[in-house]
Amino acid sequence: MIRHLTLTLFAAAILYFVTSALSPYDDFLVGEIALYLIALAGLSLLTGVNGQISLGQGAFMAVGAYTMALLMTHTKLNFTIELVAAIGAAAVLGLVIGIPATRLKGPYLAGMTLLLALALPPIADKWNGTFGGDQGLTTTVPTAPGTINSEQWLAWIEIAGALLTLVLLANLLRSRFGRSFRAVRDDEIAASLAGVHVARTKVTAFVVSAGCAGLAGAFLGLSTGVVNTGEFPLTLSIQLLAAMVVGGTGSLMGMWWGAILLVYLPQWSTSLSGHFNLGSGVSAYLAIIIFGAVLIVVMMVAPTGIQGGLRRVWGLASRRWSRLSSVGPAPTTTAPTTTAPTTGSSSSRHVDDRDGQ
């Protein structure tokens, strides 16, 4: 807990300096990375740690965004309360969806959550008096203090939300809940024999994940300046799922990679197509082509995602280093070999590793 907090403060300090040094446009993009990070972290917990696949993350984001925008339109509540309400509303829907979802697995669960992503936007179109229809509802970012420009201020709000979410999730995963999540994913029967309430655990994971999506959606609404159904297409949910896989399913930190890809890939592909003077017929699809290629390459080179791949490289490097440096008397740093069976050393560490961090 203390460690997580210290490190978070450390990350916050670095990001503070980064955002101060960057142009307003890059600050805006860093803020977007932060908001996608939140949605991805929730998804990673649900799918990677608890084993429930969801194509409905975009729909939960929409619920959070509309909740915040409705409160902004009709009340004068404190901004923080509006954000909490956004998380709460999405979490409540997560509860409603999570309960029947405990009975479904694999593609059936994916189908059900897909339905959610398809069914929510027409609701907002149907009652357009409330939800603003095509134009949607406008959102306002609280006024920035002092001379800070609005992009930087928004980025700070989103970064703060992202770091807070990561700390809370990291602690949750390290707690009894986290262990139950993993136990249920690996073997439901074994988990229930060990005294884990399987259904309750799955619903909890759903609620936490939906809450994260709610906050991410509210932030997306803030970034965009308006909340309307066009922001939450089905492709958003699918992109989130793909970005999570690329980053490293089940890892929280791997979601950094997923979020960076989601935000920067379109940027890079635009400058790339500008550089090579590609026609609009090609350049329009370049980002999605690269994303697909990255997904395939990552899955071939590092099946556990970028984060898993990096960790493996790091593991190899540090083992080599410790072997070199363990010429001395006490090889204390090579602790794993003393507790884990020699045959399963790397794989067992790997499996437990990818949970949580």
Binding site: R3, H4, L7, F10, A11, V18, S23, P24, Y25, D26, F28, L29, V30, I33, P121, P122, D125, N128, G133, D134, Q135, G136, T138, S150, E151, D186, T224, G225, V226, N228, T229, G230, E231, P233, L236, M253, G254, W256, I260, Y264, P266, Q267, W268, T270, S271, S280, A284, Q307, L310, T339, A340, P341, T343, S348, R349, V351, D352, D353, G356, Q357
Partner: protein
């Protein structure tokens, strides 16, 4: 499954390892962000007016080049670029060449928000010109206004672009309510006593159009109101059509996108229902709707002959037009538009030819060229807006009626003429085939989005200036 047996031990190790891993992964994340941003960061020169140099002027837009809204609409920005290329080939505007950057937002407002910031904060555009869509442009209206960047000639007929709250924003095409009023008045005058039904898209497009219809058509004669959802439009609108038929509707007023027009007419024909269709401009462009009618018929199992004949359903459709349609080949504007597209956008012309969308792009681009000219030798953003407010009404454009810009009115055209598509009119010829053309069945009329009367336009209809007409 080994790890579960000595779980406790492994967890302990994890705790030892935690701090190192946290540092690594956080550092990695932060480094990734820094790397990503430094790659893209470009030191932007602090020019006095963003986007303006002594020899060039940069403008930008976000439009759908991919996704469901792209077919047809993806022709507009390249067509605008054609007229800019013409201007640049003739020395530019006040000696400055126009550099037009249009980015694909896929009709998703979240993308629009990011890309518009890229254009404004990073690419330093002078103005956002000809961006498309109601939901997408609503998303950036407040940002562009707070940055004091002109959001000019938005490609949408929403009533929402003329507002004192957003002085930087302005529309261009007639608001859907204006179209609704003009077509509604035509229905009242020519189909008195007949039962009227509405079939509209369930968003602002449909609602603004209905607002106009309702001002003219007595509510007692409207017997059925049907809607469809654009985001889930996949199959024939059979239920809506059956309801209209069951209610005995003789005149169907429609605010539909081209695909929805086709998906309503085909099931109606299948059940032998042939009402009088009155369709708003966007849903009745024959070179766009005709091929859709044919391809949907073929996909639905129709024979080649049936598919070819399906375009004939458009015969007799009533719509409105605010500039000379493509089949009016004797019109000097149409001739100029064709020449410019042929010469300055040959690949676009080979693919799409002259149709409602490419004409739209050329006309909108030419409107901007004149606005820039009016802004003078050293244009500023405020100067551009002032020039449009002051002399927008006297810009020479292909529109039938003059633009109506003032300091408080930020709509473009507020007038149109009623047109009937007919097999006796000259056809519209495009690379995809020959499509049914239209002829005017009423005078050119003007009105406003409020309760203002519909007035027959008595002014002159513009002709292309010499420098444009003599383009070779």
């Amino acid at each position: 499954m080994m790890y579960s047996m000595n779980k406790g031990a492994v967890v302990t190790i994890n705790n030892h390892k935690t701090i190192g891993r946290w540092v690594r992964v956080l550092a990695a994340g932060v480094m990734g962000v820094t790397l990503g941003t430094t790659v893209l960061s470009t030191a932007a020169g602090a020019a006095s007016t963003p986007g303006v140099t002594s020899s060039s002027i940069s403008i930008g837009a976000t439009v759908p080049l991919t996704g469901p809204a792209a077919p047809g609409y993806d022709e507009i920005a390249p067509a605008m670029n054609a007229i800019f290329a013409w201007a640049n080939a003739h020395g530019g505007v006040n000696g400055r060449k126009i550099k037009y950057t249009y980015l694909d937002d896929g009709y998703n407002p979240a993308n629009t928000a990011t890309l518009t910031r890229q254009l404004v904060l990073q690419d330093n555009i002078f103005a956002d010109v000809g961006s498309l869509g109601t939901p997408t442009q609503t998303a950036v209206q407040s940002f562009l206004n707070s940055q004091k960047v002109p959001q000019l000639f938005i490609e949408s007929g929403c009533n929402c672009w003329s507002s004192s709250k957003y002085p930087e924003s302005s529309g261009w095409q007639p608001p859907y309510t204006v179209e609704g009023k003009i077509l509604g008045a035509y229905i009242k005058a020519h189909f008195a006593g007949e039962k009227v039904g509405y079939l509209t898209q369930g968003d602002e497009f449909g609602q603004d159009f209905i607002k106009g219809l309702n001002m003219e058509i007595p509510s007692t004669s409207v017997v059925s109101r049907q809607t469809y959802d654009a985001s889930t439009l996949a199959g024939p609108l059979s239920n809506q059509v059956a309801a209209l038929k069951a209610a005995g509707v003789q005149v169907v007023a429609m605010a539909t996108i081209p695909a929805a027009t086709a998906l309503a007419m085909l099931p109606a024909a299948a059940i032998g229902y042939a009402p009088q269709y009155v369709i708003s401009n966007v849903g009745a462009d024959a070179p766009t709707v005709g091929p859709l009618l044919s391809s949907f018929t073929a996909k639905g199992g129709g024979t080649a002959a049936q598919a070819a004949a399906a375009g004939g359903l458009l015969n007799g459709v009533i719509t409105d037009s605010y500039f000379a349609p493509e089949n009016d080949v004797s019109n000097p504007w149409v001739q100029v538009e064709k020449k410019i597209l042929e010469k300055y956008a040959p690949s676009l012309y080979a693919k799409s030819g002259l149709d409602g969308n490419t004409q739209y792009g050329v006309a909108l681009g030419y409107t901007f060229i004149q606005a820039l000219q009016a802004a003078g030798k050293s244009p500023t953003r405020a100067g551009l807006l002032a020039a449009i407010a002051k002399s927008g009404k006297s810009f020479v454009t292909p529109g039938y009626v003059p633009l109506s810009y003032t300091s408080s009115v930020h709509y473009g055209y507020q007038g149109a003429e009623v047109v009937k598509l007919s097999t006796t009119a000259p056809p519209a010829v495009t690379p995809s085939g020959s499509w049914i053309g239209g002829t005017a069945v009423g005078p050119i009329e003007t009105t406003n989005v409020g309760s203002g009367p519909i007035v027959t336009y008595k002014g002159k209809v513009s002709t292309p200036p010499q420098k444009l007409a003599s383009t070779s």
